[in-house]
């Protein structure tokens, strides 16, 4: 190591700044920087669009996502014509039909609901659990910290995928597994495995922050512990949390697809009135079986998933850049 890294980085200066200025200004600046980032803006537009589609799915979808049209399976999208009238695209099914003759467009529209929910809810759970535990561990230190670290190390050492599979297999036939078509179980499993990453991140931040003058000052004037945590430590560790959160969303969407592939994904809906009739992950799985016969069944969900991933990745990277002065090279 020829070049020693200076002990006090520029970021410390920024933290002090953050303390002296009103925090809102800092976020205002970050927001402005974010808006200048082309990628992030595009990402936010995409996410916004899909969110609207998900909310208004029942209005937008031409058909019910579960209704099968007899003698209409494996139709290509409407712009593809074939001499065989049973294999030609129809305007009635703009993106074609799937293996048992369900409208792909409608399924994609309804699938946005599940996939976005699968992305967001676990993310929120992970961030909330991870932040609280990380704050406590970092701030309390000593025995409490050690005990929490034991748990964190244990969860870290557990192969995640094994945990998902075992949880989904063990509990899928209980009432927990049936809640929200199995979505609830998926959320819980994802949260249980992934909170440790956030907790470690927050704990690291807090460990360095709590030695800072402003925390000592707060202590000396008798501010309560929880107030110090909420008023000082939490806002100052927010930046890495936000960035990390943006990357959790696509991760969860992918995990749902992969679990489906192993056969332990969410349960399919049967009730035509169901709010979550299908997911992009499930469509991907069904499409994979038809890769030679009707590739559009695979291409449609693959493009959708890639778009949402890309959108979140751009938002995440944009956030990282926008909040850069407060960051410490963490993702």
């Amino acid at each position: 190591m020829a070049e020693p890294v200076p002990a006090v980085a520029a970021s410390d200066f920024q933290v002090i700044q953050a303390f002296t200025r009103k925090p809102s200004n800092l976020y205002q600046d970050a927001w402005n920087r974010l808006l200048k980032n082309r990628g992030s803006v595009a990402g936010m537009i995409v996410v916004g669009f899909f969110t609207l589609v998900a909310i208004f799915a029942s209005v937008l979808a031409p058909h019910n996502a579960l209704e099968n049209f007899p003698n209409n399976s494996y139709r290509p999208p409407m712009w593809i014509h074939s001499d065989d009238p049973t294999k030609s695209g129809l305007a009635e099914f703009p993106l074609g039909t799937d293996t048992i003759g369900r409208d792909v467009l409608s399924r994609a529209i309804y699938g946005a609901r599940t996939s976005l929910i699968v992305g967001f809810i676990p993310m929120i759970l992970i961030v909330v659990i991870g932040t609280i535990i990380g704050l406590i561990a970092g701030y309390a230190g000593g025995k409490v910290d050690q005990a929490i670290m034991v748990v964190i190390d244990l969860v870290y050492a557990f192969p995640d995928l094994l945990f998902f599979i075992i949880m989904m297999t063990a509990l899928r036939d209980t009432w927990i597994g049936k809640l929200l078509n199995g979505l609830f179980l998926l959320f819980v499993s994802l949260a249980l495995v992934n909170w440790v990453g956030v907790a470690r991140l927050v704990r690291g931040q807090v460990l360095s922050l709590k030695e800072k003058e402003f925390v000592e000052a707060a202590h000396s004037i008798g501010v309560r512990d929880w107030q110090i945590m909420m008023r000082h430590l939490f806002p100052n560790s927010l930046a890495p949390i936000i960035v990390s959160a943006a990357f959790r969303v696509p991760q969860a969407i992918l995990t749902e697809a992969i679990l489906g592939y192993i056969g332990v994904g969410i349960r399919p809906a049967t009730d035509p009135q169901s709010f979550f009739p299908t997911s992009w992950g499930l469509m991907l799985l069904e499409g994979r079986d038809a890769i030679l016969t009707q590739p559009w069944l695979l291409i449609t969900p693959a493009i959708l998933i890639a778009m949402i991933l890309l959108a979140f990745t751009f938002i995440g990277d944009g956030l990282r850049d926008a909040l850069d002065p407060m960051m410490k090279g963490k993702i």
């Binding site: 190591m1 070049e3 200076p6 075992i166 063990a170 991907l284």
Partner: protein, 348 residues
Amino acid sequence: MTEYYIRRALFIIPTLFLVSLVTFIIMHATPGGPWDTDPGSRTSDPRVAERLNKAYGLDKPLYFNPESAQRAIAEGKEPLAIAQAFMDSQFNQFLANLAQGKFGPSFRYRGREVEDIIFEAQSGKPFWQNRFVATAALGVVALVIAVAIGFPLGVIAALKQNTWWDTFSLFFATVFYGIPNFVLAIFLILIFGAGLGWIKIVEIDYWDNLRPWILPSFVLAIPTAAFLARLTRSSVLEVMRMDYVRTARAKGLAERVVVIKHILKNSMIPVVTFLGPALAGLITGSFIIETQFGVTGIGRLFVESISRRDYSLIMALTLIYAFFIAFANFAVDVIYGFLDPRIRMGRG
């Protein structure tokens, strides 16, 4: 300091114990058992399952055996024998086997020891050509590929921040990342095998050739490469803002020297420390790739063992994986300490 590392290393043992206990608990809470495989087969006879349970010790209680202890007391046995009878359970049997370096008999591959399935080469092959080595080799090759792709992508993105270079590198990494590997795998097989004819669609001789490993390790490497690209980008960006870089530039050093000597060197720290867990992740995450590409490794065994409820195999593989991850985390701590003496112990 040494004492800290020793303590840290020894800590792996209780971690592994807890991992196996948790696995054991969830595993046995899962409905279905190792004999429930084929609805059409004549195992329908509950007596067959009963007999097999007895033969494989599945009729014993899971954790403790008070019944057998009571019997021992009634028979007026020694306290030691009573304690032994009390401990005569499935979990303790697993621990006892483990103490002798064994994982017990497999339930699915009946008549075979789990350690043989994992570590024994096919008959007539050199000893190292076994399932474990196959998976480990796949992981190592994938890691190398991930670094070869992810690191340069990240560096370029950072050096050209907010240009089309940056956007492109991110786009490239994410598009591949965005396609789940079970789709990407069959896609690439069809493109390179059926379309271009560069590879065989079904590769057979993995051990005697290099070619069959390329595609599976590439598919396996993609998510890691994407993550690495982002990590590198953020790390380089941070170093670029450092005073010493500014100083170096101000001194009028050639840009090449500044980039290689100052920026890259210092931005490697987080990247290097990431490689340990990354390798662990690659080794544990290869099951889909192994199935698709016909690699006889432990990843594939792992998923199958869960769906077939091969309890002893599940325990063995979980432990092996957990060991890898715990060891990788420990290694990261050690490396970190060496790379950056200020961070020792402070890190989480």
